[in-house]
């Protein structure tokens, strides 16, 4: 019952946020951490994640009056879609990609020095493997395993069929396994 009431309150917040700055402020507080976390998982660097999170919320502020969704779920899907697009747009710029890879390599070296066990998988190594996937596949992987979203929600965010997401996810994991093996073998 309490859960239903909370959901209804947030739905109301979403409806009011189109005209009311306070409502938008409350939605910001509710979703800032999630979006920031998603950006860190997608972009590795916290500094870059801050920039992209800023771009996401500024886009939300500019576009929320045209947002047609009515529920919190609609708002969340919309927000993740904006975040995914911004993250992909960031990565698409080669100069930024190179900068990101440099940071990543430095982190991997540092992590390898600190690792207790030689075969332990760390975040920089996994991210290096993930970064070799297509940007859209990176988004699906992040939403599913780092943000713990359901297939149904991911399908809405990336505007695809559930069955497509399911099959794509299976292929992504297979490809990621190969990339990860390659990274662990020394980037061949």
């Amino acid at each position: 019952m309490a859960n239903i009431e909370r959901t209804t309150d947030t739905d109301d917040l979403v409806l009011r946020a189109r005209a009311d700055a306070d409502a938008l402020g409350r939605l910001y507080e509710l979703y800032y951490e999630r979006i920031f976390r998603f950006c860190v998982h997608r972009l590795f660097s916290k500094t870059i994640a801050e920039d992209v999170t800023s771009a996401v919320f500024l886009a939300v502020a500019a576009k929320i009056r045209d947002f047609t969704g009515r529920t919190e779920q609609d708002f969340r899907n919309w927000l993740y879609a904006i975040a995914a697009n911004n993250a992909n747009a960031y990565i698409r710029k080669m100069s930024r990609r190179n900068e990101l890879l440099q940071q990543l390599t430095a982190s991997m070296t540092e992590a390898a020095d600190c690792a207790d066990e030689a075969n332990e998988l760390d975040w920089p190594t996994l991210y290096m493997a993930i970064s070799r996937l297509k940007p859209k596949h990176q988004t699906i992987l992040t939403l599913r395993f780092f943000e713990n979203l359901q297939i149904q929600e991911i399908a809405k965010i990336i505007n695809a069929k559930e069955s497509t997401v399911r099959v794509t996810l299976h292929r992504i994991l297979r490809t990621l396994r190969e990339h990860l093996q390659s990274v662990l073998d020394g980037g061949k």
């Binding site: 700055a21 800032y32 860190v40 998982h41 916290k46 502020a61 975040w123 599913r144 395993f145 994991l173």
Partner: protein, 147 residues
């Protein structure tokens, strides 16, 4: 390594990823977001005002146009009616033409029409001999041939 989705999920859960946000960034971004929201509102209001004014102007113009179309024919000054009378001299004296003139203006109109026919055709003698008629006819024929 991982074999399936559950394995990968467990692997991700074990990773130590720092996703703690910076409070300064959170607060600054909150201010920027609300500021952008109010700016977009003002921008939208100004556009809404312009759109409303344009719509109102269009409605007024259309209303005036419709009003003029509706009222126009009644206000128009009708030109004086011209009596429909045959204009060619030969047509002026036909029975039908004279009847029409009588219907429109009585005997006065018939007289006027006859006077007009006389003015156009010229005065003729009351009586004419066969010789004069043939001569006149021949003269007219020669003139036509010359032309």
């Amino acid at each position: 390594m991982f074999e399936n989705e559950n394995d990968f999920k467990n692997l991700v859960d074990q990773l130590n990823i720092d996703t703690e946000p910076n409070d300064n960034h959170r607060e600054n971004l909150c201010r920027q977001t609300l500021s952008a929201f109010s700016r977009s509102r003002q921008h939208r209001i100004s556009w809404q005002t312009i759109t409303k004014l344009a719509a109102a102007a269009a409605v007024i113009i259309v209303a005036i146009g419709l009003f003029l179309i509706q009222r126009g024919p009644n206000d128009r000054v009708e030109p004086p009616k011209v009596p429909k009378v045959s204009k060619s001299p030969s047509g002026l004296t036909t029975v039908i033409s004279l009847k029409m003139a009588y219907r429109q203006g009585g005997l006065q109109a018939v007289e006027k029409q006859c006077d007009r026919a006389v003015r156009i055709l010229g005065a003729r003698l009351d009586g004419i001999s066969a010789g004069q008629l043939i001569r006149g006819f021949n003269i007219e024929k020669q003139e036509r041939e010359k032309l």
